[in-house]
């Protein structure tokens, strides 16, 4: 927990954009951002990242660094800029300012150490190809532009499919897979990248309970292997069970840190604004409901 750092821009020029942000808990924020550590070899260090879309700031002055070998949930309401942040980190969309370092080095030199799972809806699943072929795409980074995947790559891809429980579907046309199976194929593709840091955009979206369980088991395994996984997540009821750390985002980074200190009613209230109701349940943990 001590190795988790977040810093918050206190630049007086940048007034808070979101109306949902409360005014008074400013000191609470400060408290949370004082977790300091050695950030030199952090798997992912983001400094002052700002993204604008048609002159509107979508992500503003976000700074944090992740600790190695942890599962981190990136939380926030719809439109908070979670996907945008992920894409900006990966350089898929241009950012106005900011710096991204991966394992202490500039992002560009470390691409092969990063695995990416985009949202399932971001591609057309009617594309003429099969599950194994999609997973093979995970090996393309090592192969470069021209080399064709060979026997080794196919073996890797099959193994990755097996890891997500999809070995029997290798030759299946991808449009004939269910949503959960498609999600698992995407995860297998990321596994085939053999990366150290993984960024996943809502891997739990629209999957059934069984798939969700399979995915979280896989994420746990990846963590055991020392991999760091940043996951955009929506379901607040599972945060405490799934993640070690959380980042709370609503255009700006509201807070970041270990679940037990950061996943608190006050900070969630601040992140989700009035859209959030907190109910104290029978158990100590409480039940969280996020809605409109």
């Amino acid at each position: 927990m001590k190795s988790f750092t977040t810093t918050h821009s206190s630049d007086p020029m940048s007034a808070p954009q979101s109306v949902d942000n409360g005014k008074q808990p400013q000191n609470k924020l400060q408290q949370h951002h004082k977790l300091s550590t050695n950030i030199e070899d952090s798997p992912l260090q983001v400094q002052g990242l700002t993204v604008t879309y048609q002159h509107q700031p979508v992500v503003q002055q976000v700074s944090f660094s992740l600790a190695e070998g942890r599962l981190i949930g990136l939380l926030g309401p719809n439109g908070a800029g979670k996907s945008t942040l992920l894409k900006a980190i990966l350089g898929l969309i241009p950012s106005l300012s900011g710096q991204v370092k991966v394992f202490g080095k500039p992002y560009e030199s470390q691409r092969r150490r990063i695995g990416y799972v985009p949202q399932r809806e971001s591609v057309d699943w009617d594309f003429p190809t099969d599950a194994l072929d999609v997973v093979l795409m995970g090996t393309y980074g090592r192969l470069g532009l021209f080399r064709r995947p060979g026997k080794n790559e196919r073996q890797t891809a099959l193994h990755c499919l097996d890891q997500v429980g999809m070995a029997d579907y290798a030759g299946r046309q991808i449009s004939q897979l269910s949503g959960g199976q498609q999600q698992r194929v995407f995860l297998a593709r990321a596994l085939a990248q053999q990366a150290d840091l993984y960024l996943m955009d809502e891997p739990f979206a629209g999957v059934d309970a069984l798939t969700e369980k399979a995915i979280i088991t896989l994420l746990e395994q990846m963590k055991q292997q020392g991999k760091t996984v940043l996951v955009v997540h929506h379901d607040l009821s599972t945060v405490q069970a799934y993640f070690d750390d959380v980042l709370l985002l609503n255009r700006q980074l509201i807070a970041g840190g270990a679940v037990e200190h950061t996943f608190t009613p006050e900070l969630l209230q601040q992140t989700y604004g009035g859209k959030m109701a907190f109910l104290q349940g029978n158990d100590q943990q409480g039940i969280l409901l996020a809605g409109k």
Partner: protein, 303 residues
Amino acid sequence: MDALWMIWTDPNMRWIVAGCMLLGLSSGLIGSYMLLQKRSLIGDALAHAALPGICIAFMLTGVKSTVGFLLGALIAGAIATFGIRWIAAHSRIKQDAAMGIVLSLFFGIGVMLLTRIQHSGDGGQSGLDKFLFGQAASMMREDVYMLAGISSLLLLLCLLLYKPFKLISFDAGFARGLGWPVARLEQLMLLLTVLVVVAGIQAVGVVLMSALLITPAVAARYWTDKLSVMLLLAGIFGACSGFSGTFWSSMVTGLPTGPVTVLSATIVFAVSALLAPQRGWVGKSLRQRRARQQWQQGGTAHE
């Protein structure tokens, strides 16, 4: 049979048929990628945009030179694609609407220039109007050479860059994450499309060129779930359409090649849509019927 023999023996016809088949092959190939990238209409926009480019090239040089036309069409195509992107990026107008605006604007200018050239009484202008609907018979040997050159280049690049082209067509974001030069590769694909379009305008015409890009690709998709097979089939379907287009237009005097080629491609498409085993209409309804019967039998067996 006599007609086929005539094509085989007439050296001029042989060239033209070969040219049209190469054109069909190339457009089927690159058209498949355009289709999978949901950019089917780009070919249409590029073909329409090529017309003013060709006219201006003719007005500047005063001669019908293939190289001049190619340059003119390339420049016009580049301006058009830039215009489409600029409008889509700097306004609330979506890309399809931007394409519609640019396409019709360029075509309008093209027709205007064409009319002006035809009224100028310049001796060299005869045959320029063939660019609208295409006349394969007006192709000369150097046109066929150019087509052969473009087709070989396209085939080579599609073989060499099969993997990146595939990944970009399926998931461009992932390719960008790998650090691949996605924008460059996309531009290369667009450039290849422009080349094919320009090369094809003389044979098929501005108005119908896009059909030769899209229709063989759509037809090929019906038969397979593998990209490599789809590319191969689209190339074959395109080549067959090119052959049949030149064949029929040479049989009937005054029949323009473009419409006949497109009709041929459409027949291939219709047959595919009906008869393809997995995705075809007949196969699907048969399977549905069988499933229903089985269910009904199963239902009665329970009783």
